[in-house]
Symmetry: C2
Subunit: 263 residues, 2 copies
Amino acid sequence: MTKFDEATAAIRVDETTYDVCLDTGYSIGGPLNGGYLMAVLLRAVVDASPHEHPVTTGVQFLRAARPGPAQVRLEQVKTGRTATMTRATLVQDGESFIEGLVTTATLGDAVPDWTDEPSVAMPPIEECVSLPAPKTESNMTLNAQMELVFDPPTIGWLDGRPTGRPEARAYFRLAEPQDPDPYVLALAVDALPPVVFSAGGRGWAPTVDLTWHLRALPAPGWLTLIGGGRLISDGWFDEDVEVWDSAGRLVAQSRQLARVGRG
Amino acid sequence: MTKFDEATAAIRVDETTYDVCLDTGYSIGGPLNGGYLMAVLLRAVVDASPHEHPVTTGVQFLRAARPGPAQVRLEQVKTGRTATMTRATLVQDGESFIEGLVTTATLGDAVPDWTDEPSVAMPPIEECVSLPAPKTESNMTLNAQMELVFDPPTIGWLDGRPTGRPEARAYFRLAEPQDPDPYVLALAVDALPPVVFSAGGRGWAPTVDLTWHLRALPAPGWLTLIGGGRLISDGWFDEDVEVWDSAGRLVAQSRQLARVGRG
């Protein structure tokens, strides 16, 4: 069992309740990363479903969850031959932290009937750059769990050279070798720095809604994350992330609506 | 009160229950249009919220709803100064038909800090084409409620000339004159023919998840709907719709994951 599999484990109490222990290793400055929390939620949803894969997941974040024991509460609102729809809630200390709607189904490995190209071409990984190693006393513990190798201009904001538009692009894999699966993808769709940073935004940018679709089971190897946005206005921004696998397949699509940080 | 406002009215029974009457005028061959049903749901959510606008809405469709009496059941899971999050369920004959998560807030009319251009340029409306008028005995009654004027190539599939890629673009307004508002936008984001039709797909394409974000309050006049998709595979397709208002502002963004029809 990998560290990630352990950190996202959900233990069945009964058909509607799972115990989880939120891992301190996925902190982004105190609060836990939303993608990590989705992965935990999805472990419970899929375990309770007759179907194998979380095909579409929509979550809204109420409060910033902290490391420690929590529960996932499930309500299967419909089970059919091809899909099961489940309401899932992450509860900590009796309070609801994340509300989710998940449709599970079982994906095959069909050849796509039609597929678009990546919206932006990535340079080869040798021409990309990693973030400086997190300081040991850093509470950005998430950085130690994964490798992100960035398309250089999209990380220019770190040195005071933002591109002026919302974007972030990187190659991604877990630090501990593990083939990507739907739970790794749940982490991947929320693994990039907020795209507003590249447009001059700063500070904690809380996600309100994150919806993502699993489009295919990923091949082993690096994932490519292509993040962008369309509008920053009135304190809100959208972040779109498409995830391509090493075989060149679009495996996940996500969009989140988030608040611009106050720097 | 316009026909659309009447058809989407939600009457408060108590703080968690609203009575609605699903209007036969929004049928797409029997089932009711998903955007119309979202508008009904949102009337109840916003009425019960201290905030004015449905900023982000995620719904999953369990069953095809039919015209007639129904109820919207609400659970406010969090109310804060800037936003309220509500679980909303559309119930008919004691069964749940739509499950939704909605965050309401109050939008201002801020000048965008950053905005992208429309992803595809539309030809002027004079160069666009309307659908043939629906046959009087048609059960596509939705077509009578709105005007769609299409970018010609994207409706070529009607004459056996699909473009070969998932796309649909049109100017949109309600048939009965009414300035667009967030409820009209809820209808607009699901008003185009399925984008797979332009890629050769056919038949009833049931939506599983539809998530949309209200980005600004729309100016009076025509709306521009730009629909596309990234992948058609394994019986699933994604449909992205961006809605621009007559002032050239991005006012709504939606993405749905749906099943490809069996023709």
